[in-house]
Symmetry: C2
Subunit: 217 residues, 2 copies
């Protein structure tokens, strides 16, 4: 499967790219500037000792992909969706966006519809299936390929089949997916990131995460 | 220490009463109807084989307590606070309330101020220190004294000393407290309950909980 990581030069993208490439997936880093994407892809390839990851601009990356992942800061959420709308028709978009309050990243500033995930799904209508995932996992843990991730990956979105496909991609990276149901569950899943940032700042650490308990399996 | 559990005849109250009594604290069950509180206290005492727990109406329970816990359904939140306002002056109130949407308990219907905890603190002003805790732990796990709780207890409130006292009471019951800072963190802590209820319904279980990872200690 070819996975495009749109806005993949930021915090969360490179770690996801690295781990999927290590799991055997074909990965494209997308960015507004193709050169920036190529630079990050080259760094990751050097680390991997292979040429599995390439860099393209966001629309070209989305076009070439079977499935796309959005890892831009929330301020660029709608503008990036607009730039790749045609290219994502009929595909799944994994939305990692978190609408943090720019004035205080310990709290949320949610869009009126309830969450970034619901906002993205409303933007695409029936053309693209949006699935939320990876908001709660620490970027620097993802980026360190030797680090065993001690954080469950909550997954939500309105299409159960799309959630299953994303859960499979999470498992492939050695992380545990937890199906949280429809897109509106993202109101809590995205908000959890603000709590984890709060705990990171308070405890002077970078890698607070969560595990769900009491569930079957 | 004498702990009053206001609205203590509901879901969350009896388990908290049982576990604090087992840890050696003096516990009072409070209820709107004294007889109902006495009945639950008698049931718990029978289980404990002692007379450590007594029942009173909410204002009398609050009056007799060093520290109070509020475990009423959110619909009774402000009315119960009103009934015990005078009696809680100078004390700590542990607020367990969760503003679930009555039409769908998988989601929240938060008060305009942001959370039940902030609402309670605004109601009391400087007279009473409100600390949020125990929203995420499953009632039927609490109630089963033999069950080792696999759920961290997030604690938040504007007074650091009050949070410390509540953390101590959590530890006494053999659970792990996690200090999440000021009252506004309750926006996420309370919301987590809706996610856990969603996971319970989806997985046909009753005891979903959370653990925080990546924190010191």
């Amino acid at each position: 499967m070819t996975i495009a990581i749109l806005g993949g030069t930021g915090d969360q993208g490179p770690g996801l790219a690295l781990r999927w490439a290590m799991a055997g997936e074909t990965v494209i880093i997308g960015s507004r500037a193709k050169e920036k994407a190529e630079k990050v892809a080259a760094e990751l390839n050097a680390e991997l000792g292979s040429e599995k990851i390439r860099g393209l601009d966001n629309p070209a990356a989305a076009e070439a992909a079977d499935i796309a992942v959005l890892t831009v800061p929330y301020s660029a959420h709608l503008a990036t969706l607009e730039a790749v709308k045609a290219q994502l028709k009929g595909k799944i978009l994994i939305d990692v966006s978190v609408p943090l309050d720019p004035d205080n990243v310990r709290r949320m500033k949610m869009p009126a519809i309830g969450s970034a995930t619901e906002e993205a799904q409303a933007f695409f209508g029936d053309d693209t299936k949006v699935v939320a995932a990876f908001q709660n996992v620490a970027a620097h843990h993802l980026r360190d390929a030797t680090h065993a991730i001690d954080c469950d990956i909550l997954i939500c979105g309105n299409d159960p089949e799309a959630r299953k496909i994303v859960a499979g991609l999470v498992s492939k990276m050695g992380m545990k997916p937890v199906d949280a149901g429809p897109a509106e569950a993202a109101r809590v899943v995205e908000s959890l990131t603000a709590l984890l940032i709060r705990l990171n700042i308070k405890n002077k650490v970078k890698g607070a995460g969560i595990r769900l308990t009491g569930l079957p399996g």
